[in-house]
């Protein structure tokens, strides 16, 4: 394991210092591990708070800024934040219109955000939570932890953030956030495992001849291991899994996301395949994103996320956003 870090213990804190130094539009509380917009809360605007384990950068801290999140709470590597962070972030960004928690569906995130929501409510903050669970690699059922939240989180944060910026009320912002989640599906493939700095070894062993299908973003092994093959076939596995769960039609927002160690040239190769395969099914790739957005440390691989756009969602996606990792319109 080779990492550009000072120590496994300090990596989250050191990266937050870097974030603070690089982005004057952010205010970073390094000690309490909260990343805010420097401008502070706007009275009457719903506050958006998200968070989760570190190691998925730019998610979430890279999405704090105008048109997206008001605060992000990074936990330890792959470990959800603790309630204190979320409570403090929520009370700080509440402009009187309440706060939306965007929570990826993992037991740890769900439990910590639930506790935080209760505590924040006790402090007088009106909180709504939206659970993102877009990963079709996981079979959903009443008796399991349910699907994981992955790439759609970015879509939810962007689109709900744009609506919040218009002054829409909390219930509306939460409704749109849930709608984005319901209309989005993801599937990930790993060509190599990631290495958690504190663990010091890859989260699973994958030979040169194998790929891990349906992998999670925490180095969780996927649902199946298969022979390594070309980009076209690997993308087809992802696109097929998504379309089997959610037939696609109309205008789509499509992200081909890198897991952290996949070069951009390869992501564009994958995007060409994804776009071609989705259009062959009669849908239109109306908006897109190609790059490293919801990563898994140094994992090699990619995920495809598809959102069936409505006119409203497309308009909100196009609205200005100004964050370290996503920016247009200003």
């Amino acid at each position: 394991m080779k990492k550009l870090i000072n120590s496994a213990e300090s990596v989250v804190t050191d990266a937050l210092r870097g974030l603070a130094a690089a982005h004057p539009r952010l205010r970073v509380d390094v000690e309490n591990r909260i990343v805010f917009r420097a401008a502070g809360p706007r009275p009457g605007k719903v506050g958006l708070v998200s968070g989760g384990g570190s190691g998925h950068e730019p998610l979430h801290a890279g999405f704090v800024g105008y048109g997206m999140l008001d605060a992000a709470c990074p936990g330890e590597i792959f470990t959800s934040p603790v309630p204190d962070q979320v409570v403090e972030a929520s009370t700080a960004v509440d402009g009187g219109a309440g706060v939306l928690h965007v929570v990826k569906n993992y037991t740890g995130d769900v439990l910590n955000f639930r506790m935080a929501a209760e505590l924040a409510a006790e402090e007088g903050v009106q909180v709504e939570s939206v659970l993102v669970d877009d990963d079709v690699a996981v079979r959903d059922s009443l008796h399991t932890a349910g699907r994981r939240g992955t790439g759609a989180t970015l879509f939810v944060e962007k689109i709900a953030g744009a609506l919040a910026e218009t002054g829409a009320p909390l219930a509306e912002v939460a409704r749109v956030a849930r709608e984005v989640g319901e209309r989005s599906r993801s599937f990930g493939v790993a060509l190599s495992a990631c290495t958690v700095p504190a663990a010091g070894r890859p989260s699973f062993d994958l030979s040169e001849a194998e790929a891990e299908l349906g992998v999670g973003i925490h180095g969780e092994p996927g649902r199946a291991r298969a022979a390594m093959r070309g980009a076209r076939e690997l993308v087809a596995v992802a696109v097929d899994a998504i379309c089997e769960d959610m037939p696609v039609s109309g205008d789509l927002l499509v992200m081909v996301n890198g897991m952290g160690a996949t070069p951009l040239i390869e992501l564009y190769v994958a995007f060409a395949e994804a776009a071609g395969q989705l259009e062959a099914r009669g849908a239109r790739v109306a908006r897109s994103l190609v790059g490293n957005y919801v990563t898994s440390l140094d994992m090699q691989g990619f995920s495809v996320t598809v959102c069936r756009l409505s006119d409203e969602l497309a308009r909100l996606w196009d609205a200005p956003v100004e964050t370290p990792a996503l920016r247009w319109g200003r």
């Binding site: 384990g53 936990g75 330890e76 590597i77 792959f78 470990t79 959800s80 934040p81 603790v82 309630p83 204190d84 993992y106 037991t107 740890g108 439990l111 910590n112 639930r114 506790m115 690699a137 996981v138 079979r139 008796h143 399991t144 932890a145 994981r148 958690v196 504190a198 663990a199 070894r201 989260s203 699973f204 999670g216 925490h218 180095g219 969780e220 092994p221 649902r223």
Partner: protein, 212 residues
């Protein structure tokens, strides 16, 4: 005769649990790497170390307060699934103990049941779902039974720790239905659940301080 179960006893328990988890940190992380995300050892180590430090600093006078402080420290320091779950377990146990300065074996058994109920209430896992519940629930059952049968504290806690250890071992062939391991479906079979393994360590630590 035997150890009085006072604030000092429970403080010693948290200290012993922290020591045991640190000693087994790599194993826990390895188990969590196999079917989860590889942080369970580090998570619990961080949390229990902080809990032990908080107890050393604040020195709560009653067993209930010791467990409440340990529990809320876990919640405040761990994150992940195990932070809220173990934190709630300790807080519920602490609440069950009330404000008394010393705890009877029967009270301890009821507190452990309250802890398990807390975990169940929060995480919605049943026995057989391949979680910490599979270590904690049998331990609570064994402790209650041993106390009912009038066995002494050391023997009762030995029964509880053994039950937790067997329970943890019994998770190996299970298919996970809760937590991160559930994503693996059938591929989760053949691995011990890290939370069940740490649950067994906590129960064994309780026995250790009781027989010291």
């Amino acid at each position: 005769m035997g150890t009085p179960m006072d604030a000092e006893f429970f403080t010693a328990w948290i200290g012993e649990a922290a020591r045991a988890v640190r000693a087994e940190k790599d194993r826990l992380t390895r188990l969590d790497t196999a079917i989860g995300d590889g942080d369970h050892g580090v998570n619990l180590d961080r949390g229990l170390t902080a809990a032990a430090a908080a107890l050393a600093e604040r020195r709560p006078a009653a067993p209930g307060a010791v467990l409440a402080l340990a529990g809320s420290t876990l919640i405040r320091k761990v994150g992940g699934a195990s932070g809220p779950l173990y934190g709630t377990a300790l807080r519920e146990a602490g609440r069950a103990l009330g404000e008394g300065a010393e705890v009877s074996p029967a009270e301890l058994a009821r507190a452990l049941e309250a802890a398990v109920d807390g975990v169940r209430g929060l995480g919605a896992a049943a026995e057989g779902d391949k979680t910490m519940v599979d270590a904690l629930a049998p331990a609570a059952g064994a402790l209650a039974r041993a106390v009912r049968e009038g066995r002494d504290l050391a023997a009762a806690l030995e029964a509880a720790a053994s039950a937790a250890e067997s329970g943890a071992e019994a998770t190996v062939p299970m298919e996970a239905r809760k937590g991160r391991a559930s994503y693996l479906g059938p591929r989760s079979v053949g691995h011990e659940d890290p939370g069940a393994a740490s649950g067994a360590l906590l129960l064994r630590a309780l026995h250790t301080v009781a027989v010291r």
